[in-house]
Protein backbone atom coordinates (compact mmCIF):
# COMPACT_ATOMS: atom_id res chain seq x y z
CA UNK A 1 0.00 0.00 0.00
CA UNK A 2 1.06 3.57 -0.61
CA UNK A 3 0.95 6.01 2.22
CA UNK A 4 1.02 9.15 0.04
CA UNK A 5 3.09 10.74 2.76
CA UNK A 6 0.26 10.17 5.17
CA UNK A 7 0.83 8.18 8.33
CA UNK A 8 -2.36 6.45 9.36
CA UNK A 9 -2.21 5.70 13.07
CA UNK A 10 -2.20 2.17 14.42
CA UNK A 11 -5.26 2.61 16.58
CA UNK A 12 -8.65 2.22 14.97
CA UNK A 13 -10.08 5.07 16.99
CA UNK A 14 -7.75 7.63 15.43
CA UNK A 15 -8.00 9.42 12.07
CA UNK A 16 -5.33 11.73 10.66
CA UNK A 17 -6.80 15.21 10.47
CA UNK A 18 -5.04 15.87 7.19
CA UNK A 19 -7.53 13.67 5.31
CA UNK A 20 -10.03 16.52 5.75
CA UNK A 21 -7.80 19.20 4.24
CA UNK A 22 -5.36 17.75 1.70
CA UNK A 23 -6.12 18.49 -1.93
CA UNK A 24 -4.31 15.38 -3.13
CA UNK A 25 -6.41 13.21 -0.82
CA UNK A 26 -9.57 14.83 -2.17
CA UNK A 27 -8.44 14.13 -5.76
CA UNK A 28 -7.86 10.51 -4.80
CA UNK A 29 -11.35 10.32 -3.26
CA UNK A 30 -12.90 11.56 -6.49
CA UNK A 31 -11.08 8.86 -8.41
CA UNK A 32 -11.50 5.90 -6.06
CA UNK A 33 -14.77 6.66 -4.29
CA UNK A 34 -16.96 9.01 -6.30
CA UNK A 35 -15.90 7.59 -9.68
CA UNK A 36 -15.02 4.27 -8.08
CA UNK A 37 -16.97 1.07 -7.40
CA UNK A 38 -19.42 2.55 -4.88
CA UNK A 39 -23.09 3.52 -5.02
CA UNK A 40 -24.39 7.01 -4.35
CA UNK A 41 -27.92 7.87 -3.27
CA UNK A 42 -28.98 11.02 -5.13
CA UNK A 43 -32.75 10.89 -5.39
CA UNK A 44 -36.09 9.26 -4.87
CA UNK A 45 -38.50 8.51 -7.67
CA UNK A 46 -41.23 10.57 -5.98
CA UNK A 47 -39.19 13.69 -6.75
CA UNK A 48 -40.16 13.15 -10.39
CA UNK A 49 -43.65 11.63 -10.06
CA UNK A 50 -45.17 12.52 -13.44
CA UNK A 51 -44.10 11.54 -16.98
CA UNK A 52 -41.69 14.19 -18.22
CA UNK A 53 -40.59 15.27 -14.74
CA UNK A 54 -36.85 15.69 -14.32
CA UNK A 55 -34.27 16.87 -11.84
CA UNK A 56 -30.59 17.65 -12.23
CA UNK A 57 -27.97 16.88 -9.63
CA UNK A 58 -24.23 16.30 -9.61
CA UNK A 59 -22.35 13.25 -8.42
CA UNK A 60 -19.33 15.15 -7.13
CA UNK A 61 -18.39 17.08 -10.31
CA UNK A 62 -20.30 14.89 -12.76
CA UNK A 63 -23.63 16.41 -13.91
CA UNK A 64 -26.58 14.01 -14.01
CA UNK A 65 -30.13 14.23 -15.32
CA UNK A 66 -32.86 12.15 -13.69
CA UNK A 67 -35.87 11.86 -15.99
CA UNK A 68 -39.19 10.06 -15.85
CA UNK A 69 -39.86 9.26 -19.47
CA UNK A 70 -43.18 9.61 -21.20
CA UNK A 71 -43.42 5.83 -20.66
CA UNK A 72 -43.37 6.40 -16.89
CA UNK A 73 -39.93 4.82 -16.42
CA UNK A 74 -37.27 6.56 -14.31
CA UNK A 75 -33.86 6.80 -15.96
CA UNK A 76 -30.57 8.46 -15.12
CA UNK A 77 -28.47 10.13 -17.81
CA UNK A 78 -25.31 12.12 -17.89
CA UNK A 79 -26.46 15.72 -18.26
CA UNK A 80 -24.38 16.12 -21.38
CA UNK A 81 -25.21 16.22 -25.08
CA UNK A 82 -24.05 13.10 -26.92
CA UNK A 83 -22.59 15.33 -29.65
CA UNK A 84 -20.03 17.69 -28.13
CA UNK A 85 -20.62 17.06 -24.45
CA UNK A 86 -22.44 20.34 -23.76
CA UNK A 87 -24.44 20.54 -20.53
CA UNK A 88 -27.98 19.76 -21.62
CA UNK A 89 -30.40 20.92 -18.90
CA UNK A 90 -29.73 23.79 -16.51
CA UNK A 91 -32.90 23.88 -14.38
CA UNK A 92 -32.81 22.07 -11.01
CA UNK A 93 -36.17 20.46 -11.82
CA UNK A 94 -39.08 20.71 -14.21
CA UNK A 95 -41.13 18.84 -16.78
CA UNK A 96 -40.05 18.35 -20.37
CA UNK A 97 -40.96 16.04 -23.20
CA UNK A 98 -37.70 16.92 -24.93
CA UNK A 99 -34.27 18.28 -24.07
CA UNK A 100 -32.62 20.48 -26.65
CA UNK A 101 -28.92 21.25 -26.70
CA UNK A 102 -28.70 24.92 -27.75
CA UNK A 103 -25.23 24.56 -29.29
CA UNK A 104 -26.21 22.66 -32.46
CA UNK A 105 -29.90 22.06 -31.65
CA UNK A 106 -29.68 18.32 -31.15
CA UNK A 107 -32.92 17.21 -29.53
CA UNK A 108 -33.42 14.26 -27.17
CA UNK A 109 -36.61 12.65 -25.90
CA UNK A 110 -37.15 12.19 -22.19
CA UNK A 111 -36.22 8.52 -22.61
CA UNK A 112 -32.79 9.61 -23.82
CA UNK A 113 -33.29 8.91 -27.49
CA UNK A 114 -31.86 11.30 -30.08
CA UNK A 115 -34.82 12.72 -31.98
CA UNK A 116 -33.25 15.31 -34.18
CA UNK A 117 -29.87 16.65 -35.30
CA UNK A 118 -29.99 19.46 -37.87
CA UNK A 119 -28.17 19.32 -41.18
CA UNK A 120 -27.28 15.65 -40.75
CA UNK A 121 -26.82 15.17 -44.50
CA UNK A 122 -23.19 16.24 -44.06
CA UNK A 123 -22.49 13.93 -41.12
CA UNK A 124 -19.93 11.14 -40.91
CA UNK A 125 -20.76 8.30 -43.37
CA UNK A 126 -22.89 5.69 -41.66
CA UNK A 127 -24.10 8.08 -38.93
CA UNK A 128 -27.22 6.73 -37.25
CA UNK A 129 -29.28 8.64 -34.69
CA UNK A 130 -29.84 5.49 -32.63
CA UNK A 131 -26.09 5.35 -31.96
CA UNK A 132 -26.21 8.72 -30.17
CA UNK A 133 -28.68 8.57 -27.28
CA UNK A 134 -27.87 10.33 -24.01
CA UNK A 135 -25.19 8.32 -22.25
CA UNK A 136 -26.09 6.70 -18.94
CA UNK A 137 -24.17 5.81 -15.80
CA UNK A 138 -25.15 2.67 -13.90
CA UNK A 139 -28.20 3.28 -11.78
CA UNK A 140 -30.59 1.17 -9.74
CA UNK A 141 -33.77 1.85 -7.81
CA UNK A 142 -34.25 0.38 -4.35
CA UNK A 143 -37.54 1.13 -2.66
CA UNK A 144 -37.84 4.09 -5.02
CA UNK A 145 -34.42 5.40 -3.94
CA UNK A 146 -32.22 6.25 -6.92
CA UNK A 147 -28.64 5.08 -6.61
CA UNK A 148 -25.94 5.87 -9.18
CA UNK A 149 -22.49 4.42 -9.73
CA UNK A 150 -19.93 5.66 -12.23
CA UNK A 151 -18.01 2.39 -12.13
CA UNK A 152 -18.70 -0.87 -13.93
CA UNK A 153 -16.91 -2.60 -11.06
CA UNK A 154 -19.38 -1.65 -8.34
CA UNK A 155 -21.08 -4.68 -6.77
CA UNK A 156 -24.78 -5.21 -7.26
CA UNK A 157 -26.64 -2.56 -5.26
CA UNK A 158 -28.23 -5.07 -2.88
CA UNK A 159 -24.81 -6.51 -2.08
CA UNK A 160 -23.47 -2.98 -1.51
CA UNK A 161 -26.29 -2.23 0.91
CA UNK A 162 -25.96 -5.52 2.77
CA UNK A 163 -27.70 -5.41 6.15
CA UNK A 164 -28.70 -1.79 5.55
CA UNK A 165 -31.47 -2.80 3.16
CA UNK A 166 -34.23 -3.34 5.70
CA UNK A 167 -33.27 -0.29 7.75
CA UNK A 168 -33.21 1.83 4.64
CA UNK A 169 -36.71 0.74 3.66
CA UNK A 170 -37.99 1.37 7.18
CA UNK A 171 -36.39 4.83 7.18
CA UNK A 172 -38.50 5.87 4.20
CA UNK A 173 -41.77 4.52 5.51
CA UNK A 174 -41.56 0.83 4.71
CA UNK A 175 -42.91 1.00 1.20
CA UNK A 176 -45.73 3.51 1.71
CA UNK A 177 -45.66 5.78 -1.38
CA UNK A 178 -43.86 9.05 -0.73
CA UNK A 179 -44.72 12.58 -1.81
CA UNK A 180 -42.07 15.28 -2.06
CA UNK A 181 -42.59 18.20 0.32
CA UNK A 182 -39.57 20.25 -0.73
CA UNK A 183 -35.90 20.99 -0.26
CA UNK A 184 -33.47 23.01 1.75
CA UNK A 185 -30.07 23.35 0.11
CA UNK A 186 -26.88 24.69 1.62
CA UNK A 187 -23.20 24.81 0.88
CA UNK A 188 -21.17 23.91 3.94
CA UNK A 189 -17.57 25.10 4.19
CA UNK A 190 -16.25 21.67 5.08
CA UNK A 191 -15.01 18.41 3.69
CA UNK A 192 -17.75 15.87 2.96
CA UNK A 193 -16.34 13.46 5.54
CA UNK A 194 -16.72 16.01 8.34
CA UNK A 195 -20.47 15.66 7.83
CA UNK A 196 -20.59 11.90 7.46
CA UNK A 197 -18.38 11.45 10.52
CA UNK A 198 -21.10 12.93 12.72
CA UNK A 199 -21.85 10.66 15.66
CA UNK A 200 -24.32 9.58 18.29
CA UNK A 201 -22.29 10.99 21.16
CA UNK A 202 -22.95 14.66 20.38
CA UNK A 203 -26.75 15.19 20.18
CA UNK A 204 -27.57 15.56 23.85
CA UNK A 205 -24.47 17.70 24.35
CA UNK A 206 -24.51 19.99 21.31
CA UNK A 207 -28.22 20.33 20.68
CA UNK A 208 -29.34 21.99 23.89
CA UNK A 209 -32.84 22.38 22.49
CA UNK A 210 -33.39 18.67 23.08
CA UNK A 211 -32.90 19.23 26.80
CA UNK A 212 -34.84 22.48 26.90
CA UNK A 213 -37.92 21.01 25.27
CA UNK A 214 -37.58 17.75 27.18
CA UNK A 215 -37.06 15.62 24.11
CA UNK A 216 -35.11 12.53 25.06
CA UNK A 217 -33.94 10.19 22.34
CA UNK A 218 -35.16 6.64 22.50
CA UNK A 219 -32.95 3.78 23.53
CA UNK A 220 -32.78 1.55 20.55
CA UNK A 221 -30.62 -0.71 18.49
CA UNK A 222 -27.53 0.28 16.56
CA UNK A 223 -25.83 -1.77 13.88
CA UNK A 224 -22.71 -1.40 11.74
CA UNK A 225 -22.21 -2.94 8.33
CA UNK A 226 -18.94 -4.89 8.74
CA UNK A 227 -17.62 -4.04 5.26
CA UNK A 228 -18.28 -0.39 4.49
CA UNK A 229 -19.38 0.77 7.91
CA UNK A 230 -22.94 1.73 7.00
CA UNK A 231 -24.50 2.85 10.29
CA UNK A 232 -28.01 1.73 11.18
CA UNK A 233 -29.98 3.14 14.09
CA UNK A 234 -33.51 2.30 15.10
CA UNK A 235 -35.63 3.15 18.11
CA UNK A 236 -39.01 4.23 19.33
CA UNK A 237 -38.90 7.97 19.94
CA UNK A 238 -41.56 9.66 21.99
CA UNK A 239 -42.78 13.17 21.31
CA UNK A 240 -41.76 15.61 24.05
CA UNK A 241 -44.40 16.75 26.52
CA UNK A 242 -45.16 20.43 26.24
CA UNK A 243 -43.15 22.05 29.05
CA UNK A 244 -43.93 25.60 27.99
CA UNK A 245 -40.50 26.29 26.51
CA UNK A 246 -41.93 26.81 23.04
CA UNK A 247 -44.74 29.27 22.41
CA UNK A 248 -45.78 27.01 19.53
CA UNK A 249 -45.20 23.42 20.67
CA UNK A 250 -46.58 22.05 17.39
CA UNK A 251 -42.99 22.21 16.15
CA UNK A 252 -42.25 19.01 18.05
CA UNK A 253 -45.49 17.05 17.86
CA UNK A 254 -46.07 13.96 15.76
CA UNK A 255 -48.14 14.39 12.58
CA UNK A 256 -51.05 12.34 13.84
CA UNK A 257 -50.63 13.15 17.52
CA UNK A 258 -49.07 9.75 18.22
CA UNK A 259 -47.21 9.42 21.53
CA UNK A 260 -44.18 7.95 19.77
CA UNK A 261 -42.90 7.21 16.30
CA UNK A 262 -40.46 4.66 14.96
CA UNK A 263 -37.07 6.06 14.01
CA UNK A 264 -34.85 4.25 11.54
CA UNK A 265 -31.80 6.26 10.58
CA UNK A 266 -29.22 5.13 8.07
CA UNK A 267 -25.84 6.54 7.06
CA UNK A 268 -24.34 4.80 4.05
CA UNK A 269 -20.78 4.80 2.79
CA UNK A 270 -19.59 7.04 1.32
CA UNK A 271 -22.11 9.87 1.77
CA UNK A 272 -25.81 9.38 2.20
CA UNK A 273 -28.17 9.88 5.09
CA UNK A 274 -31.78 8.88 5.60
CA UNK A 275 -32.92 10.36 8.88
CA UNK A 276 -36.66 10.65 9.46
CA UNK A 277 -37.92 12.92 12.21
CA UNK A 278 -41.44 12.53 13.56
CA UNK A 279 -42.17 10.15 10.72
CA UNK A 280 -41.26 12.60 7.95
CA UNK A 281 -38.71 11.13 5.56
CA UNK A 282 -35.56 13.20 5.21
CA UNK A 283 -32.96 12.19 2.64
CA UNK A 284 -29.72 14.12 2.50
CA UNK A 285 -27.80 14.18 -0.74
CA UNK A 286 -24.17 15.27 -0.39
CA UNK A 287 -22.26 16.78 -3.30
CA UNK A 288 -18.54 17.34 -2.71
CA UNK A 289 -17.46 20.60 -4.37
CA UNK A 290 -13.85 20.65 -3.24
CA UNK A 291 -11.74 19.58 -0.30
CA UNK A 292 -13.42 22.18 1.92
CA UNK A 293 -16.86 22.63 0.32
CA UNK A 294 -19.87 20.33 0.27
CA UNK A 295 -23.38 20.98 -0.98
CA UNK A 296 -26.10 19.38 1.10
CA UNK A 297 -29.59 18.90 -0.28
CA UNK A 298 -32.12 18.16 2.43
CA UNK A 299 -35.07 16.51 0.66
CA UNK A 300 -38.27 16.04 2.68
CA UNK A 301 -41.10 13.65 1.95
CA UNK A 302 -44.52 12.96 3.39
CA UNK A 303 -46.73 10.13 2.28
CA UNK A 304 -48.90 10.29 -0.81
CA UNK A 305 -51.97 9.45 1.29
CA UNK A 306 -51.35 12.15 3.90
CA UNK A 307 -54.41 14.33 4.56
CA UNK A 308 -53.78 18.01 3.74
CA UNK A 309 -53.45 18.97 7.41
CA UNK A 310 -50.76 16.33 7.96
CA UNK A 311 -48.88 17.49 4.88
CA UNK A 312 -49.04 21.05 6.21
CA UNK A 313 -47.85 19.93 9.64
CA UNK A 314 -44.87 18.11 8.16
CA UNK A 315 -43.98 21.15 6.02
CA UNK A 316 -44.16 23.53 8.98
CA UNK A 317 -42.21 21.13 11.16
CA UNK A 318 -39.25 20.29 8.92
CA UNK A 319 -38.84 23.91 7.83
CA UNK A 320 -38.07 25.09 11.34
CA UNK A 321 -36.71 21.94 12.94
CA UNK A 322 -34.14 20.77 10.38
CA UNK A 323 -31.75 22.02 7.72
CA UNK A 324 -29.23 24.86 7.85
CA UNK A 325 -31.48 27.03 10.03
CA UNK A 326 -33.23 24.29 11.97
CA UNK A 327 -33.76 24.28 15.71
CA UNK A 328 -31.91 20.99 16.17
CA UNK A 329 -29.53 21.00 13.22
CA UNK A 330 -28.04 24.47 12.82
CA UNK A 331 -25.35 23.62 15.34
CA UNK A 332 -24.25 20.62 13.28
CA UNK A 333 -23.32 22.88 10.38
CA UNK A 334 -21.40 25.15 12.74
CA UNK A 335 -19.46 22.20 14.14
CA UNK A 336 -18.63 20.85 10.68
CA UNK A 337 -17.02 24.21 9.86
CA UNK A 338 -15.04 24.19 13.05
CA UNK A 339 -13.86 20.62 12.44
CA UNK A 340 -12.69 21.75 9.01
CA UNK A 341 -10.76 24.72 10.35
CA UNK A 342 -9.29 22.72 13.23
CA UNK A 343 -8.22 19.91 10.93
CA UNK A 344 -5.45 22.10 9.52
CA UNK A 345 -3.58 21.40 12.77
CA UNK A 346 -1.27 18.37 13.06
CA UNK A 347 -2.21 15.07 14.60
CA UNK A 348 -5.21 12.83 14.76
CA UNK A 349 -8.87 13.18 15.57
CA UNK A 350 -9.85 10.45 18.00
CA UNK A 351 -12.99 8.66 19.06
CA UNK A 352 -13.44 7.89 22.76
CA UNK A 353 -17.10 7.26 23.45
CA UNK A 354 -17.85 3.58 23.01
CA UNK A 355 -14.30 2.51 22.14
CA UNK A 356 -13.82 -0.84 23.89
CA UNK A 357 -10.50 -1.77 22.30
CA UNK A 358 -8.60 0.79 20.21
CA UNK A 359 -6.50 -1.81 18.40
CA UNK A 360 -9.50 -3.83 17.20
CA UNK A 361 -12.13 -2.94 14.63
CA UNK A 362 -15.47 -2.59 16.44
CA UNK A 363 -18.28 -4.96 15.57
CA UNK A 364 -20.91 -3.22 17.63
CA UNK A 365 -21.75 0.21 18.94
CA UNK A 366 -24.59 2.06 20.62
CA UNK A 367 -26.71 4.99 19.52
CA UNK A 368 -25.07 7.49 21.86
CA UNK A 369 -21.53 6.51 20.91
CA UNK A 370 -18.96 7.40 18.27
CA UNK A 371 -16.67 4.38 18.20
CA UNK A 372 -18.66 2.69 15.44
CA UNK A 373 -17.43 5.28 12.93
CA UNK A 374 -14.12 3.37 12.89
CA UNK A 375 -15.54 0.81 10.44
CA UNK A 376 -16.26 3.58 7.90
CA UNK A 377 -12.73 4.86 8.31
CA UNK A 378 -11.15 1.44 7.97
CA UNK A 379 -12.93 0.84 4.65
CA UNK A 380 -12.04 4.37 3.53
CA UNK A 381 -8.39 3.81 4.44
CA UNK A 382 -8.24 0.62 2.39
CA UNK A 383 -10.00 2.14 -0.63
CA UNK A 384 -7.58 5.05 -0.70
CA UNK A 385 -4.63 2.76 -0.14
CA UNK A 386 -3.22 4.31 3.02
CA UNK A 387 -1.03 1.90 4.98
CA UNK A 388 -1.75 1.59 8.70
CA UNK A 389 1.11 2.06 11.13
CA UNK A 390 2.09 -0.88 13.29
CA UNK A 391 0.80 -0.96 16.85
Amino acid sequence: MLNHGLNWPANYNAVPKEVFVREDVYALELERIFRGPEWHLLGHESEIPEPGDFKTIDLADVPLLFSRGSDGVVRVFYNSCSHRGTQLETAPSGNASRFQCPYHRWVFGNRGELIGCPQHEGFTPGFRREDYPLAQPRFELFGGLIFVSLSADAPALEAFLGDARQHLLESIGGGRPLQLLGYQKARYDCNWKAIIDNDGYHPALLHVALRMIGWAGGKGEFGIDPVRGHRLASSEIGAPQNNGFLADPSLVTTPGGEAAVRFSGVTLFPACTSAPHFGTTNLRFYIPRGVDRTDVHFAYFGFADDPPEVRQHRTRQVSNLLGPGGLISLEDAAMFHRVQIGSHTPGNATFQKGVRDPIALPTESAQNEEGGNAVFWEYYRKVLGFGRSRA
Binding site: G182, N320, P324, H337, I341
Partner: protein, 164 residues
Amino acid sequence: MITLDSADLLALDRLSAACSDAIDRRDMKAWLATYSTRPEASYICNTRESVESGRDVAFVLDDCRARLEDRVTFVEKVWAGSFQKYQSRHIAQRITAHRTGEDTFATTSNFAVFFTPEETGLTTLFGTGVYEDVVVREAGSLRLLSRRAILDSTLISRYFVYPI
Protein backbone atom coordinates in the same frame (compact mmCIF):
# COMPACT_ATOMS: atom_id res chain seq x y z
CA MET B 1 -58.77 55.21 -5.25
CA ILE B 2 -56.69 54.90 -2.11
CA THR B 3 -53.35 56.61 -2.52
CA LEU B 4 -50.13 56.83 -0.62
CA ASP B 5 -48.68 60.10 0.50
CA SER B 6 -45.09 60.93 1.30
CA ALA B 7 -45.70 60.48 5.01
CA ASP B 8 -46.86 56.89 4.36
CA LEU B 9 -43.77 56.17 2.27
CA LEU B 10 -41.50 57.60 4.93
CA ALA B 11 -43.19 55.50 7.61
CA LEU B 12 -42.91 52.35 5.49
CA ASP B 13 -39.22 52.97 4.87
CA ARG B 14 -38.62 53.58 8.55
CA LEU B 15 -40.26 50.26 9.42
CA SER B 16 -38.14 48.38 6.90
CA ALA B 17 -35.01 50.12 8.15
CA ALA B 18 -35.88 49.33 11.76
CA CYS B 19 -36.22 45.64 10.92
CA SER B 20 -32.88 45.54 9.06
CA ASP B 21 -31.16 47.50 11.80
CA ALA B 22 -32.47 45.19 14.53
CA ILE B 23 -31.13 42.13 12.72
CA ASP B 24 -27.75 43.70 11.99
CA ARG B 25 -27.47 44.67 15.67
CA ARG B 26 -28.46 41.07 16.54
CA ASP B 27 -31.26 42.47 18.69
CA MET B 28 -33.94 39.84 18.33
CA LYS B 29 -36.40 41.55 20.65
CA ALA B 30 -36.17 44.70 18.54
CA TRP B 31 -36.72 42.53 15.45
CA LEU B 32 -39.84 41.02 17.03
CA ALA B 33 -41.08 44.52 17.88
CA THR B 34 -41.26 45.36 14.18
CA TYR B 35 -43.97 42.70 13.78
CA SER B 36 -47.66 42.93 14.51
CA THR B 37 -48.92 41.45 17.76
CA ARG B 38 -51.73 39.71 15.90
CA PRO B 39 -51.68 35.88 16.12
CA GLU B 40 -51.33 35.57 12.33
CA ALA B 41 -48.15 37.68 12.10
CA SER B 42 -45.58 35.79 10.06
CA TYR B 43 -42.05 35.69 8.67
CA ILE B 44 -41.12 33.21 5.96
CA CYS B 45 -37.76 32.84 4.23
CA ASN B 46 -37.58 30.66 1.17
CA THR B 47 -35.83 30.34 -2.16
CA ARG B 48 -37.20 31.43 -5.49
CA GLU B 49 -36.73 27.85 -6.69
CA SER B 50 -39.11 26.55 -4.02
CA VAL B 51 -41.64 29.32 -4.55
CA GLU B 52 -41.75 28.86 -8.31
CA SER B 53 -42.07 25.09 -8.02
CA GLY B 54 -44.91 25.44 -5.53
CA ARG B 55 -43.10 23.79 -2.62
CA ASP B 56 -43.75 25.28 0.77
CA VAL B 57 -40.78 23.83 2.68
CA ALA B 58 -38.75 26.90 3.65
CA PHE B 59 -35.60 27.87 5.53
CA VAL B 60 -37.80 29.65 8.04
CA LEU B 61 -41.52 29.15 8.34
CA ASP B 62 -42.72 31.30 11.21
CA ASP B 63 -46.33 31.44 10.15
CA CYS B 64 -47.77 32.72 13.42
CA ARG B 65 -46.84 35.14 16.16
CA ALA B 66 -45.95 32.26 18.51
CA ARG B 67 -43.29 31.05 16.08
CA LEU B 68 -41.86 34.56 15.79
CA GLU B 69 -41.52 34.58 19.56
CA ASP B 70 -39.90 31.14 19.43
CA ARG B 71 -37.33 32.42 16.93
CA VAL B 72 -36.17 34.92 19.53
CA THR B 73 -35.85 32.01 21.95
CA PHE B 74 -33.89 29.94 19.41
CA VAL B 75 -31.32 32.66 18.90
CA GLU B 76 -31.01 33.90 22.46
CA LYS B 77 -31.33 30.68 24.44
CA VAL B 78 -30.89 27.63 22.23
CA TRP B 79 -28.13 28.39 19.74
CA ALA B 80 -26.19 30.86 21.86
CA GLY B 81 -22.55 29.84 22.10
CA SER B 82 -22.69 27.09 19.50
CA PHE B 83 -22.44 29.00 16.22
CA GLN B 84 -19.65 31.08 14.73
CA LYS B 85 -20.47 34.73 15.23
CA TYR B 86 -21.05 36.82 12.16
CA GLN B 87 -22.01 40.32 11.24
CA SER B 88 -24.79 40.73 8.71
CA ARG B 89 -25.52 43.90 6.78
CA HIS B 90 -28.87 44.36 5.09
CA ILE B 91 -29.42 46.76 2.21
CA ALA B 92 -33.06 47.08 1.12
CA GLN B 93 -34.64 49.18 -1.58
CA ARG B 94 -38.38 49.65 -1.87
CA ILE B 95 -39.65 48.76 -5.33
CA THR B 96 -43.43 48.97 -4.99
CA ALA B 97 -45.81 50.28 -2.36
CA HIS B 98 -49.60 50.27 -2.29
CA ARG B 99 -52.19 51.20 0.25
CA THR B 100 -54.61 48.29 0.42
CA GLY B 101 -56.92 49.69 3.10
CA GLU B 102 -57.27 52.47 5.59
CA ASP B 103 -54.41 51.12 7.70
CA THR B 104 -52.86 48.40 5.54
CA PHE B 105 -50.12 48.48 2.95
CA ALA B 106 -48.38 46.06 0.61
CA THR B 107 -44.78 46.62 -0.43
CA THR B 108 -42.01 44.83 -2.23
CA SER B 109 -38.33 45.59 -1.73
CA ASN B 110 -35.16 44.20 -3.21
CA PHE B 111 -32.56 43.23 -0.66
CA ALA B 112 -28.90 42.27 -0.48
CA VAL B 113 -27.41 40.75 2.65
CA PHE B 114 -23.68 40.83 3.29
CA PHE B 115 -22.06 38.44 5.68
CA THR B 116 -18.83 38.78 7.67
CA PRO B 117 -17.88 35.76 9.77
CA GLU B 118 -15.86 36.57 12.85
CA GLU B 119 -13.25 33.91 12.19
CA THR B 120 -12.30 35.07 8.69
CA GLY B 121 -13.18 38.74 8.77
CA LEU B 122 -13.94 38.44 5.07
CA THR B 123 -17.15 40.02 3.82
CA THR B 124 -19.10 38.15 1.16
CA LEU B 125 -22.54 38.45 -0.32
CA PHE B 126 -24.81 36.06 1.55
CA GLY B 127 -27.75 36.48 -0.73
CA THR B 128 -30.06 38.71 -2.68
CA GLY B 129 -33.80 38.59 -3.12
CA VAL B 130 -37.05 40.35 -2.55
CA TYR B 131 -39.20 41.10 0.47
CA GLU B 132 -42.94 40.85 0.03
CA ASP B 133 -44.43 42.70 2.99
CA VAL B 134 -47.90 43.30 4.32
CA VAL B 135 -47.87 46.19 6.77
CA VAL B 136 -50.53 47.29 9.23
CA ARG B 137 -50.93 50.31 11.48
CA GLU B 138 -51.24 49.36 15.13
CA ALA B 139 -51.55 51.88 17.95
CA GLY B 140 -50.37 54.60 15.61
CA SER B 141 -47.26 52.77 14.38
CA LEU B 142 -46.63 50.60 11.33
CA ARG B 143 -45.84 46.92 11.93
CA LEU B 144 -45.13 43.96 9.67
CA LEU B 145 -48.11 41.66 9.50
CA SER B 146 -46.20 39.39 7.19
CA ARG B 147 -42.82 39.37 5.53
CA ARG B 148 -41.82 36.84 2.92
CA ALA B 149 -38.11 36.93 2.06
CA ILE B 150 -37.56 35.16 -1.24
CA LEU B 151 -33.91 34.40 -1.90
CA ASP B 152 -32.61 34.31 -5.46
CA SER B 153 -30.11 31.66 -4.41
CA THR B 154 -30.98 28.03 -4.88
CA LEU B 155 -28.76 27.16 -1.95
CA ILE B 156 -27.47 29.21 0.93
CA SER B 157 -23.95 29.52 2.21
CA ARG B 158 -23.29 27.66 5.48
CA TYR B 159 -26.21 28.30 7.80
CA PHE B 160 -28.00 31.28 9.19
CA VAL B 161 -28.95 32.22 12.70
CA TYR B 162 -30.59 35.60 12.30
CA PRO B 163 -33.53 36.30 10.03
CA ILE B 164 -32.76 37.58 6.54
